[in-house]
């Protein structure tokens, strides 16, 4: 089942094994590739109220599915030690945390600041938009092209994004296809 989830909804989800029915970890950081437009992996916390970080990580290939209530893996060995994981996931570039980054159109208009990432989840994680705080205040959602450039502390989006600022996830979900179709035509 594919649905839209924000990165903050994914954070804190229990990681559950399909075969074992055990909650083996919890999602900590969400790592995505703007260029590829998809989820690259997650880092983990241990399960439990006062439990700390887990060394293990989950590259996207090891994720069986992400749903509203849990991130599913096939079994406990799906959790990967950092030395066996891609560098981006094992050692996330914390300085490239996009929360708080400015969103600018190619024409130089500021659409706001990033407050969250929106992903289409199911058996893979595709980045479809950002949740932003608009310059005048208030929350909005903007769709993203399939590939996006990140430079410095600002995210640059196509000019027509300005017309696609939506109020909620439902509005965003409905507009992504039209947005990308328009991009393809221009």
């Amino acid at each position: 089942m594919r649905l839209l989830m924000t990165a903050s909804q994914i954070r804190g989800l229990p990681v559950v094994t399909v075969r074992g029915g055990e909650d083996v970890a919890e999602v900590r950081d969400v790592i995505f590739s703007p260029e590829a437009g998809r989820l690259v992996g997650v880092t983990l916390n241990k399960r439990g109220f006062l439990a700390g970080r887990s060394r293990d990580v989950l590259p996207a290939e090891a994720i069986h599915a992400i749903g509203k209530n849990a991130l599913m893996v096939l079994d406990a060995p799906s959790l990967v030690a950092p030395e066996d994981a891609p560098d981006d996931v094992a050692h996330p570039a914390v300085e490239r945390n996009v929360i708080g980054d400015d969103v600018l159109t190619e024409g130089g208009l500021s659409l706001g600041k990033v407050t969250d990432l929106v992903l289409l989840v199911g058996s893979s994680g595709e980045v479809v938009g950002y949740q932003i705080e608009k310059p005048g205040g208030g929350q909005g959602y903007i769709p993203l092209p399939a590939q996006l450039a990140v430079s410095g502390a600002a995210l640059v989006v196509p000019n027509i994004t300005e017309e696609f600022v939506k109020d909620d996830l439902v509005g965003l979900g409905a507009s992504v296809d039209e947005f990308r179709a328009r991009l393809g035509l221009s």
């Binding site: 990165a7 950081d29 590739s33 439990a51 700390g52 929360i99 969250d116 990140v150």
Partner: protein
């Protein structure tokens, strides 16, 4: 107001405690005032210890929760 037909024993004080004797009588125990004073000081020590433990536990709790939170959304670098 219930009428006071039952004789009430005086309330025990720190220095004087009345207990009932097996033969039905009353026994008065006089406490050593110097011992009572030491006990009061001991109680304050314990209160201080409990407060310190609570403060340390709260700080530890906050530190652990913050350490674990992470919760960032990170843009991966383009590989090679």
């Amino acid at each position: 107001m219930p009428d006071d037909t039952v004789a009430r024993t005086p309330s025990p004080t720190l220095l004087q405690i009345d207990t009932a004797r097996p033969d039905g009588g009353k026994q008065t125990w006089d406490r050593d005032p110097s011992r009572v004073r030491i006990l009061a000081v001991g109680v304050i020590d314990w209160v201080i210890v409990v407060v310190i433990v609570l403060v340390v536990a709260s700080v530890a709790f906050v530190v652990i929760r913050r350490r674990r939170r992470g919760g960032r959304v990170i843009a991966a670098k383009e590989e090679g």
